[in-house]
Symmetry: C2
Subunit: 343 residues, 2 copies
């Protein structure tokens, strides 16, 4: 059974069958249906092994995902997959735990799969040149950049938002509604990573508004998971000072915090406003809808592939792309009547 049999059976050309099998968008639904009927009828299995043999090994890129449970990564991975296929690259996906070392995993993957390039999705912000040298191929930091490390910007690429500036914007939105006692929910103030950067934005927004930082309103969870965010918010409500607004550095943490607020009898936004950064799908369905700064997840993934493809083709050098978020108003922002409302 060959692709020619499928083409004859369905009455279309071999190249049309190939386009259908490779899920190209430029095929009508009618033709696609006819070809897939033939594929099923004839029990045809596309011979990717043969294709693998014909292809050189130089067109594979690896994607190392650290923290695949992070729902924000789901649309990013899908967009990387689509962009890689469109660009003619085989994609090798490798998932590691949140705490694991992505550089070690990426270096091993690059060697064992003979990859030409790497996309690191979710990793550290403080690489050293010695560490990344082990990768041996061009790489793109996707959703983050090397803000705390010593890498020469010309030695790698990155696609991310400006975490500090976006956090500043989120907190400013709370300040503009009159909030002064604003809590922040984050992993850590000093993780040399996304959490620290967004904390910087929080501090700067308060400072520029002339609001003194209250360390008792800085709620560190240590781990990123939702149960930790819930528990930390519960403790903040039980033991901390009053606050009328909360900035969570991630949507998933905000959703857990809203649950803790509800369980403590505090209404959102009447008793406490909530804002976050990310824009995961689930945050559209909270009651009320979470007000958040939506990261352009699809664009982040597609641009990471685009930049890497340019570098691999020798058509461009390293690039560092900063993308902007989009505010989804939602329903979790209210005006501050008094700073003591959340108590």
């Amino acid at each position: 059974m060959t692709i020619k049999d499928v083409a004859e059976f369905s009455g279309v050309s071999v190249s049309t069958v190939s386009r259908v099998l490779n899920q190209h968008p430029d095929v009508s639904e009618v033709v696609r249906g006819r070809v897939m009927d033939a594929v099923r009828e004839l029990h045809y299995v596309p011979n990717n092994s043969a294709r693998d043999l014909v292809k050189t090994r130089t067109d594979a890129i690896g994607v190392v995902v650290r923290g695949a449970e992070n729902p924000f990564f789901t649309p990013v991975i899908r967009s990387i997959e689509n962009a890689a296929e469109d660009a003619g690259y085989e994609m090798v996906l490798h998932q590691i735990q949140s705490g694991a070392g992505e550089l070690e995993a990426a270096a091993a993957l690059a060697r064992s799969k003979r990859l030409n390039g790497l996309i690191l999705l979710g990793g550290c912000y403080d690489y050293t040149p010695e560490q990344t040298a082990a990768l041996g191929v061009p790489f793109v930091c996707c959703t983050y950049t090397n803000r705390f490390g010593r890498l020469d910007p010309a030695s790698y690429s990155s696609v991310s938002i400006d975490d500090r500036a976006e956090a500043y914007r989120a907190v400013q939105l709370l300040l503009s509604r009159g909030h002064r006692a604003i809590a922040v929910l984050l992993d850590s103030v000093s993780d040399r990573s996304i959490s620290q950067l967004r904390y910087q934005g929080y501090c700067e927004a308060l400072r520029d508004a002339g609001v003194a930082l209250d360390p008792a309103l800085v709620a560190e969870t240590v781990e990123f998971e939702m149960p930790a965010a819930y528990e930390r918010t519960r403790r903040l409500l039980a033991e901390g000072p009053a606050f009328s607004a909360l900035f969570a550095i991630a949507d998933s943490m905000a959703i857990a915090a809203m649950k803790a607020l509800s369980d403590a009898g505090r209404r959102v936004p009447e008793d406490c406003s909530v804002i976050a950064i990310d824009g995961i799908e689930m945050s559209r369905y909270t009651v009320p809808t979470l007000t958040t700064l939506i990261q352009p997840a699809e664009t982040i993934g597609a641009q990471a592939v685009g930049i890497l493809a340019e570098v691999l083709a020798g058509r461009g050098g390293s690039r560092h792309l900063r993308l902007e978020t989009t505010l989804r108003p939602g329903g979790t922002l209210g005006a501050a009547e008094t700073d003591r409302k959340a108590r």
Copy 2:
């Protein structure tokens, strides 16, 4: 730089370093920290390529995930990964779109990666022997089984819940609270898949309780995504007959439905009770907490690997494991005062 250097530097044995690098659980945190410090200090990269060359190719299993956006799959995939590593198998993960053909993808993967076995995560319930013959290796249907197909049970394995029985149980919980006008939110009543099976359970529970089926309370979404579930519930509320309870076949659909209920001014559970099946993490954080039948996601993944490993080792034949859900009471079930409450 070899593993011996790391062992010497950190003052532990080579086998301890190996256990740390392979993320075995039986290493103390102190030792793990010391070894990882040495790995970082020495910029050591574990030589998985070498290990790949030494290993025979017979210990790789493929996992084809259909619909990776489905949040229920996240803990299943993680548990498959862990179990595969514990069993000494290399895992090749391949993700395809919800609508794509998992058998074609699995067959191609099995050949190109020379896999010894396959786990299909999320797929069709109506395979034919001709279709699955193309796989060429033992396979396990994970989270589903071949209820509508013509496969000889001895020719494959499966790990799943009993969808019909669990749906029956969910609807019975609503009936026991006095509800009679019970809507069902599902993809399709005739998709020869999970949705049809859970719809059967819904119908049987109503029948056994002497409640007539009202076709106008059967809300099909056609697609599985949350926006479709939201929109279909909104339309049911606007155009359908009154109902005091809703059974959603999946947590994610229930969360979207709760949002639609809230947007329409209906309180959960006072105006409408909601129950679902799955137990995704996010459903613990809805307000109120979703009442749902939790699938044993970790066990499902681990058992799929376990059964496949037994088959590959020649120690066992095909098996079909049915696991039970666990009720999480949550807060979305209320008593029916009248059938007209939801209007």
